[in-house]
Subunit: 289 residues, 2 copies
């Protein structure tokens, strides 16, 4: 079974080195050190779908970690130089090596986080990068700011062997996916799943089960995939968020995942955890208890 997208970077993040400026300076000039080439904050890839690495020049880069001892860095680029998320990028991701996508995802998330934290939220002073790019510090009030990861629940409500799928207006044609929403302060994963399904589809759920997770670098979510039992199949759609929803059978989900031309809907792409979630559900012959 394929692991979720954007996982498997398998780099030693070596976070104990981040605060050690002497060691980081040594790693920058290490003969094997490499700097990731970015186009804005998008990946530069070669004809075989691999990331492009260059000798390290300059400093102040993000320390990605050690890859079998080789120090890897990524540039921290100026705000505004990032290409916008676009379907062209998603086409690129379909061609990229999975491990490379995971490595690039770290560089993208950290860069967008830096862009949102140029000034100190506590006192308004311009901040500086520290911890080899894994933080920003205020030279005035001393506040330290750390990279943000937003947990998001993404889930299938299940009712009598079918699961609830929905589409947002901006999706590509025919695409349907799982419901999703940000976990708010003061709620568990299970409570967020129940709240989001109630808000978006008017359905009460119970018995929330965790399935898998992935980092999602647009800009920096932790996607937490779950399945829950729906008390009813009567949908009350939140039309501010969604334009349609329906209950899909296992056969319909399998056909969509296989890319069958006559499938009822188009599946989310393999690098999205909605695909992982649908794949795992569709491979169950019957519901485990």
């Amino acid at each position: 079974m394929l692991p979720p997208g954007f996982t498997g970077a398998a780099i030693d993040r070596a976070d104990h080195l981040r605060l050690d400026q002497t060691r980081i300076a040594e790693l920058v000039v290490h003969a094997e050190a490499r700097l990731l080439r970015l186009e804005g904050i998008d990946p530069a890839i070669d004809e075989s779908g691999r990331l492009v690495w260059e000798p390290v020049t300059g400093d102040g880069h993000l320390f990605l970690g050690l890859d079998e001892g080789r120090p890897l860095f990524a540039p921290i680029v100026e705000a505004g130089s990032g290409a916008a998320r676009a379907f062209a990028l998603f086409d690129l991701l379909n061609r990229m090596d999975a491990r490379d996508a995971a490595i690039w995802g770290v560089a993208r998330s950290l860069n967008t986080w830096h862009h949102r934290h140029v000034f100190c939220g506590v006192c308004g002073t311009r901040t500086v990068s520290f911890r080899a790019g894994w933080g920003r510090k205020c030279p005035d009030c001393g506040a330290e700011h750390f990279p943000r990861v937003d947990p998001v629940v993404i889930m299938l409500a299940e009712h009598e062997g079918r699961v609830l799928l929905a589409r947002q207006p901006h999706y590509p044609p025919r695409r349907y996916s799982a419901l999703a929403g940000f976990v708010e302060p003061g709620e568990s994963i299970e409570e967020a799943v129940a709240r989001e399904i109630e808000e978006e589809a008017g359905i009460e759920v119970s018995r929330v089960r965790y399935v898998a997770s992935q980092p999602w670098p647009f800009p920096g979510q932790l996607m937490i995939a779950c399945i829950a039992d729906a008390a009813s199949d009567a949908i009350r759609l939140d039309t501010n968020e969604l334009e349609d929803a329906f209950w899909a059978s296992r056969d319909e989900v399998r056909a969509a995942l296989a890319g069958a031309p006559d499938s009822r809907f188009g599946a989310p792409p393999p690098f999205a955890i909605a695909n992982t979630l649908l794949t795992r559900w569709s491979e169950q012959e019957c519901e485990e208890d």
Copy 2:
């Protein structure tokens, strides 16, 4: 089985109302509306361990949601007026009604988040609260800032029927707990669990299983509790983070949870998910597969 601490608030967060200033203004003057009394950002509680609610005065409060139709608000207090986290507060939590602790947790997390986002991270301008306290907006560059939730993994490495417990130097005497650490950008829950156990104890793990989650309002974590299989029981302690670690048997964990005077260690308090995690593990007679 007890649900994890800080869950079960069971309030309708009614997030569709947050942007509706007219409706929020109506709810503020609703005859049944109530405002949470805080002491700094600590809870004020009465002699029976319940939160104290007062008629709503003023405006600009945080809208907590609807409790059986009754609008509940919490004050957004000035930065610096928050009492420091202290063991006295933890004693209070042991006496608090569980549902009330969950409601107060939301108010505490949101208040500390506001204090860290007084100025816009993008441009340095002073921000203003919007969405009934569930966001801050920059009047200059227009950037919107949303409450932050930091996902943290907390986990037991298991080896031949025993689990790894450790203590940090600031713990109360005799206390041991599960290892824990922040999920970083670019990693899944499973990858974060493996990285943290490797960093803190030098142990390789596989087969990470999700167990439960809870919000933790100090200041705003989402605690994600897992169990994983350890490849070895040879501990290489990270002495920067931990002062001791050992492998605990089910009997030792049960004795600690029961508060037995001759227990090998002191268990984490019931409102911490480490307690939930140890309780669930100790109740398994044998490992499920």
